[in-house]
Amino acid sequence: MKAVFNTVDKIKPCFDYVDKLVLFICKILLIIDIVITAMAVTGRYVSFIPDPAWSEEVVLSCMAYMAVLSASLAIRRNSHIRMTAFDRYLPPKVLIALDLIADLAILALGLVMIFVGWSYAQRLGSRGFYVSMPSLSRFWMYFPVPLAGVAMVIFELEMIYNRIKKLVLGEEA
């Protein structure tokens, strides 16, 4: 069994790479949000700085992408807020089993978000456009939901694997 885990562990660098990439994208999105908002407000008072009409919609879309992508990072880092009040009263194996159940449920949620989100984004995308950018489909406004689903599924698969490994190998994992 250990050999199987050792073989699968070789994929870990791929997850690390995705993690780094997602973190990088989130940081860039945050910077874009700050720059555009600051530019828009300064542009209101300083004539030579542009105050584009699309600023608000772009900023909100960037925030939506950042919110969902960063949330998938929190899955991998196990940093999402959860109730840990009774942890000390539960045996470690029960805790891992509960975490595993939660991970499976989140994986299911991720799948729902992929399929439902994709169908909604496509349907709405075919109907409307950004108000300030008539050439841009509203598909991109709702695309963060299926995208979040994909990121969640990727990191959840790794988490589930890690939990199973911990359950099987115990402290060795």
Partner: protein, 430 residues
Amino acid sequence: MIVNSMAIFVLLGSFFVFILIRFPIAYAVALSSILCLLYQGLPLTTVAQQMVKGISSFSLMAVPFFITMGYLMGSGGISEKLIALANACVGWMRGGMAMVNIVSSYFFGGISGSAAADTASLGSIMIPMMVEQGYDDDFATAVTVTSSCEGLLVPPSHNMVIYATTAGGVSIGSLFLAGYLPAAILAGTLMVGSYIISIKRNYPKGDKFNLLNLFKQMALSFWALAAVLIVVVGVVGGVFTATESAAIAVFYSLIVSVFIYKGLTWKGVWRVLDQCVDTLSIVLILISTSSIFGFLLTRLNVPTLAAKAILGLTDNTILLALLLNLILLVLGVIMDMAPIILIATPILLPIATSIGISPIQFGIMMILNCGIGLLTPPVGSVLFIGSAVGKVPIERLVKAILPFYLLMIVTLLLLTFIPAISLYLPSVFM
């Protein structure tokens, strides 16, 4: 009014089961909402629609910006300057370092808006300093963690933005102003408590008061404190919205931290963004998924039903106000701050307003209640950070905090029964 009891049971029952079995709250909210949607035969596309709607609020953009501003300032070497300023103000008193700790938190809170950041940042400097001067380590840590709650009330606070958006129609500017006096009263009561303990334990006094030194420290801290001025004056004066002011304040913090105080390099700034994303990864998705939950709560008339049920218990407004505080305190003990604000606001705010508590006053009450929750086991994150920074075991720390809990409850009761504490400044300036 049609009451769909079973759907409410599915929504709330599954939510409580999920959080009890340790599901991350952000996803427990989404999953219970999906179960409720399925039960009601509603389309699951509501999930996508509400998630995007929840996060697509320009006011909410202030949350990531304020968090970024706090991290930039916190990492930019302002802690020492604010401590020096507080020392010049109150260091001369008996138990001077405890007073300095409390006043520093007031200043620092305005910049970070986070009790955890306050405890980690100020605590790592103040606790060793206090211990070196003869203060007990548990007392030093207790003062640090309890005073950190001032930061939640002193504007700008991203939790206030979350509350204002969740409550709907609450002015962020008014809420910012409403936080100043309650935070000052909290600081005052903590100072009184610390003073009494300091006399009993014969803790030392600091250097004599020196007006010249006070002016010097004010000048040194000016650039840091000006960030708060930009935000508060900008918002209250109608120059810009909270979100716009936050974006400007981020740029300002960057300039102060990198070029004026030189506490951060560009590499450091990039690393600070890591911390920002870490925090945002928890907060933003919670806001997004809570939107589905909020939609269902409203659709199922839960706020109205909860108001009816609680108002049916008694018509005594004092008891009802106490009951609201009790509910929030209990929630604060078992849950973190952002989920409570997002989930409890739509349910409890109508009850508060029906007994004459204004949404602004209720927001301040809620934030202080949640702040107390951050200091209580088993999930008090600030308590754990304090314990780690001060190297004091949780059991001993909780014992040392006991008198401070009492002082915080006294402050909470003052805020609950004297609305003017929260509403005076907004009534003057807004």
